[in-house]
């Protein structure tokens, strides 16, 4: 199981704060493709993925038990 978290615009778009995917492993790229096809308007090409609270690269692999988060463009400060 891979946990994914949604924030800000994505939390409102998906209507949820988090969910779990029943996968053993997938790449960051695959996760973004899944999100884009599951949630029209997700805007995957503007979003970064954090895996276990660290920014991941597009080819990194995510494993069951990892906690992921979709990070839309940040605007703190």
């Amino acid at each position: 199981m891979i946990q994914v978290n949604y924030f800000a615009r994505l939390r409102e778009l998906t209507g949820k704060g988090q969910e779990t995917l029943d996968r053993d492993s997938m790449t960051v790229s695959e996760l973004l493709d899944w999100a884009e096809s599951t949630y029209p308007g997700f805007g995957a090409d503007t979003i970064q993925v954090a895996v276990n609270e660290e920014y991941a690269l597009i080819d990194d692999t995510i494993y069951s038990g990892d906690v992921c988060a979709f990070i839309p463009p940040v605007s703190g400060g």
Binding site: N5, F7, A8, R9, R11, E12, L32, D45, T46, I47, Q48, A50, E53, E54, Y55, A56, L57, I58, D59, A69, I71, P72, P73, V74, S75, G76, G77
Partner: protein
């Protein structure tokens, strides 16, 4: 308080100043980012901030570590508030102490620039006639240029 923290209540600058001050510090700089009433000609009613709290606090601590490596001898504390903020409220405070003032200014400005780049915090502007999540669009970073 924690040295690097996300908070949900009003920010009191004094405690962050006190935290970084010590007998070898000759200078303290404090930056606060405050809610402005007007942005690009549109009147803000209030802002709503949201964070991925554990990762945000981790990233704030990483920024602090970067600063201490670049400007040895400084001490740093950073807090960002989330939730609904009204005009004039403090969204972020950065306190830096240093033996000499130059490093305190430079490190402080470095911190706010980095916060705006890498800390998972989001701001929604709420106006009289609408609202919008703010954030500069950008492409996924290539391998090796990750943040």
């Amino acid at each position: 308080m924690k040295q690097y923290e996300i908070v949900e209540t009003p920010i009191d600058i004094q405690q962050y100043s006190d935290y970084v001050l010590h007998p070898a510090a000759g200078a303290v700089t404090i930056f606060t980012g405050n809610v402005r009433e007007w942005t690009h000609g549109v009147k803000t009613l209030y802002l709503a901030y949201e964070a991925y709290i554990p990762m945000a606090e981790k990233k704030l601590a990483e920024i602090g570590a970067e600063m201490e490596a670049k400007w040895p001898g400084i001490r740093v504390a950073i807090a960002h508030r989330i939730g609904e903020l009204q005009v004039k409220d403090i969204a972020v405070v950065i306190a830096v102490s240093s033996p000499h003032r130059k490093a305190a200014y430079e490190a402080n400005e470095y911190a706010i620039d980095r916060i705006k780049e890498v800390v998972p915090i989001w701001k929604k502007e709420i106006w009289e006639d609408g609202e919008e999540w703010i954030g500069a669009q950008k492409k996924y970073p290539e391998k090796g240029v990750g943040q």
